[in-house]
Amino acid sequence: MKIWGTGILNGFRITMRNWMRGPITVQYPEQRLELPERARWTVTPKYNEDGTPKCTACLICEKECPDHVLRLDVSKLEDGTKHIDKYVYEVGACMMCGLCTAACPFDAIYMSHEYELASRYASDLSRVLLEDVDTASPRRAKKEETDA
């Protein structure tokens, strides 16, 4: 037979038990949680071993992005290959869906684990990923190979 009130006393026991288990707080910023490998945060360009970016300015990421967050300004060089004037990324508007990295055929961008994006300045809401660099062009590489 259950006396009225035993449920309440059991509740007291449970809360005290949870007290004894200790807090689960992770004291940020002294302690940080490790993100799993697939966690999607900011879009970051990848580079080759010699420091040149892998991006070929194919503009597929720009078309894939549902919110038009990526913008590439491209110009053509004399030998026909492309030159990236500016690769602008609106971090503040990005929803980190990962569609751009999934669509990139050259594996030139990846979603980093950089989540500490809070800032006091509105200028930090927009980033320039690549500026004034030549694209990784297969045609130029082959030409250099044949030249060498």
Partner: protein, 327 residues
Amino acid sequence: MNAAGAVAIRILAMLLLLLVNGVVLIYMLRKVLGRLHIRIGPNRVGPFGLLQTTADVVKLLTKEDLMPESADKWLFWIAPFVVFVPSFLAYLPLAFGPDLAVTRLDTGLLFLLAALSLIPLGVVMAGWASNSKWSLVGGMRAAGQQIAYEVPLMLAVLGPVMMAGSMDLSRIIEAQKNLWFVFPQFIAFIIYIIAAQADTQQTPFDMSEAESELITGFANEYGGMRFGFLFLAEFSNMFIVSALGVSLFFGGWYVPFLTENPVALSLAPLIFMIKTYMGIFVMMWARGSLPRIRVDQLLAFSWKALIPISLSWVVIWACFQRLVLVR
């Protein structure tokens, strides 16, 4: 030092105790609730977060003093005082040690309960004067609740009064030298803790400031130090009912088996405070663990369950004491 000066010093000491209590209790509440909820509570402001309340007080003092345009200005202004001043008055008869009370009133207990009864008036004033429907609902609930639970509170304290033969709190404590009143008066003690939790509007009886319904109930429109007063009054009420419970049921400043020990007697205020804070810890534990009772169930519980039980207990104990325990 003349008599008036001595009294003034005692009153100032009591005011200081009230303020220090408020600061410590608010910190204690936040830490206790935090630990019960598997989180830490404040720990950044000062070592272990000890300066948190001070920072909050400074914040409250520097806040803009808002009053709703259609509020009743005079009532709105005075309501926090009507809530706070009786709470301070109730500190006066409390006895912290042998000969350590602000005043020794023969009717100290009655004075204390009378002072506590003035608080619902202030709560209703705050709820009405805010001219907001939510505050009004909160104020009305508080009035009904506190009136309903003061009756069992007063009936529950009659048991220790009968056993001690006096309403003076020092004398009641002294009558508990050999046996704490909680053992013979166990039923009165249970009724007392329920009524005390309700009278101070703590969960599970916090209908008047039901946080998930009325946000802060009657204190919705109060900000800055006005809110600080209401908030402080709530915590000092907790201290008062806990101190009263310790005086009436747990032997005040007496340590079992050491009642004649001069060291134990000289540490009387410390022992009293430790016991009071243990009582407050249990109140906070209940606050963190239990859901809220609905307002009609609350009133029904008081009028239909607590009052008949406490009345019967008073009658039974009176008969028992008069007929059986003939001294």
